[in-house]
């Protein structure tokens, strides 16, 4: 029980620190914070699959990218309302996740991992080659940020870094609370049962395939939501978002932070993003350092950052 209280305190402290960031941090760090929050939403969606449902997807970037493209396409058609732009990413990714999940989930373990990777690469290939829709390797550029009703009267817009950061924070908190509830719900418990022992769950009468597909779609939708935010934040959507290294990066974030905790992936996302953006600013060979960092983590901290606390 003390662990639960410690977790809540840690989260509140993190929230306060983050919410005040626009007041004191340099612009560059607000930018990193925004990217990290978006990546954290993405990582939480993968933790739902990996940690709770035991589904090691290596193609999660597919849904991130599809969300970003969906949001970008809609925004470039002069839709500037915030909620529809956020939802379109989630809906588009959920729609894509249904067939991908239906096919990949027939396999388990290493085959599932490779199938998701393959499907993500198909979508990456589509993003590169379907130029009439995606404009190829250039991607969708000049994606405008949405307007916030009433914000003008208060004297700010989402084009400024501070308010946009707060928007991302609000979405991240909402996603966290939603996933927290979902994992404690009967649905979440059922998923854990399937992760632990699918055969027995079938024998008890649970249609396990439907549950796994359902969580796969939910995970995809939340990744799509993160993709929407990414398109707004960057002002573009490019095929890079769907590339397999992005899937690898988010998987690293979840595992480095510690899966099955939701908090861990958030920490992991911040660590990976800060390492990536921070290193790339100051060090030439940042990918090398990042790779070495991952290797060290896997070797010496297989349970992730959260594992440190849990053991103590």
């Amino acid at each position: 029980m003390t662990v639960g209280r410690g977790r809540t305190l840690l989260l509140l402290a993190l929230l306060v620190a983050l919410a005040s960031l626009p007041l004191w941090a340099p612009r560059f760090w607000i930018y990193i914070g925004t990217q990290a929050l978006i990546f954290a939403i993405f990582a939480m969606s993968l933790d739902l699959l990996l940690g709770y449902a035991g589904l090691a997807s290596f193609g999660h970037a597919a849904f991130y990218g599809v969300g970003a493209y969906a949001c970008g396409l809609l925004a470039l058609r002069h839709v500037d309302a915030l909620i529809p732009l956020l939802l379109i990413g989630a809906l588009a990714s959920a729609a894509v996740a249904v067939p991908i999940g239906a096919l990949s989930l027939r396999a388990t373990g290493i085959y599932f991992l490779m199938l998701t990777l393959a499907f993500a690469q198909i979508l990456w290939g589509l993003a590169v080659n379907w130029t009439s829709l995606t404009r190829g390797t250039d991607g969708l550029i000049g994606v405008p940020r949405p307007a916030l009703p009433g914000a003008g009267a208060l004297g700010f817009t989402l084009n400024e870094r501070g308010p946009f950061f707060i928007l991302c924070l609000a979405v991240a908190v909402l996603v966290f609370l939603l996933l927290e509830a979902l994992t404690r719900s009967p649905f979440g418990r059922t998923l854990e049962g399937i992760r632990e022992n699918e055969r027995r769950m079938r024998a008890l009468g649970f249609p396990t395939f439907r549950y796994r597909l359902a969580v796969f779609v939910v995970g995809g939708a939340i990744a799509g939501l993160a993709g929407s935010l990414a398109a707004m934040s960057n002002g573009f959507a490019t095929p890079d978002l769907l590339y397999w290294t992005v899937s690898g990066l988010v998987l690293v974030a979840v595992v480095v932070g510690g899966s099955r905790s939701l908090v861990g992936p958030v920490l992991g996302a911040f660590l990976v993003l800060i390492a990536q953006l921070g290193l790339s600013t100051f060090v030439d060979r940042w990918e090398l350092v990042l790779g070495a960092l991952f290797i060290a983590f896997v070797l010496f901290l297989p349970r992730g950052l959260v594992g440190l606390v849990r053991r103590a």
């Binding site: 290294t245 595992v255 060979r285 990918e287 090398l288 991952f294 983590f297």
Partner: protein, 254 residues
Amino acid sequence: MDVLNLAHGSFYMIGAYTAYSVVLATHSFWLALLIAPLLLALVGGLLELVFFRRLYRHGHLAQVLLTFGFTLVFVDLIRSGYGPTTRSIAPPPSLGGAVHFLGATFSSYSLFVLGVAVVVGALLLAAWRRLRVGAVLRAGVADKEMAGLLGIDLARVFTLTFAFGAGLAGLAGVIAAPEFAIFPAMDASVLILALVVVVLGGLGSIEGAIVGAAVIGLGYVIGTTLFPQVALVLIFGLMAAVLVVRPTGLFGRR
């Protein structure tokens, strides 16, 4: 041997770059063909000894992450050594010509690649069946203690297999170098193709890998000729279709 190595594409890439360096220094493609596989086998064996050995019991996810880390490291090392630009080497002079056959023209080098592929495939298949390497590895994967009781030095078998696999990847890199361009992102494209081939054929089956490679190779060539825009999409679609019918691949066992 039930290890998922994302850095396998890196071995291929390093093989190609080694070939580039050797050809630049000695002007001998044949020397490169000898050195690169040996170098890669050494690298692979060392990595197995130092890193992978500790991870077998942690499952696939840890392996995926570890080797993902290595791909980042290798790509960056290559980029720092050779720069991001595309390199190429010429095929050896003796294979620079063209051959007319059945009314079509093939470059000698393409035929050489085909020949090497057939020979390597045949040797692998023979070794797999005759020397019971497959049986030993499968036994080791299924039950380490039992294999140990049977007097099989599993640790050594695993290291050697890993080194051998890395050497083969290096060989492929050298052979591919004159045919395709050499660039730092070449690891990813070949890795994904290799995974597709292996999954299509069925894990742990050399026959499957050979058939899978032929299917994917043909599919890819036909795809690029007929529908160049969607060739990649096509082969992934093919893989998805096979896996839907047979979730463990064409030759896979349960």
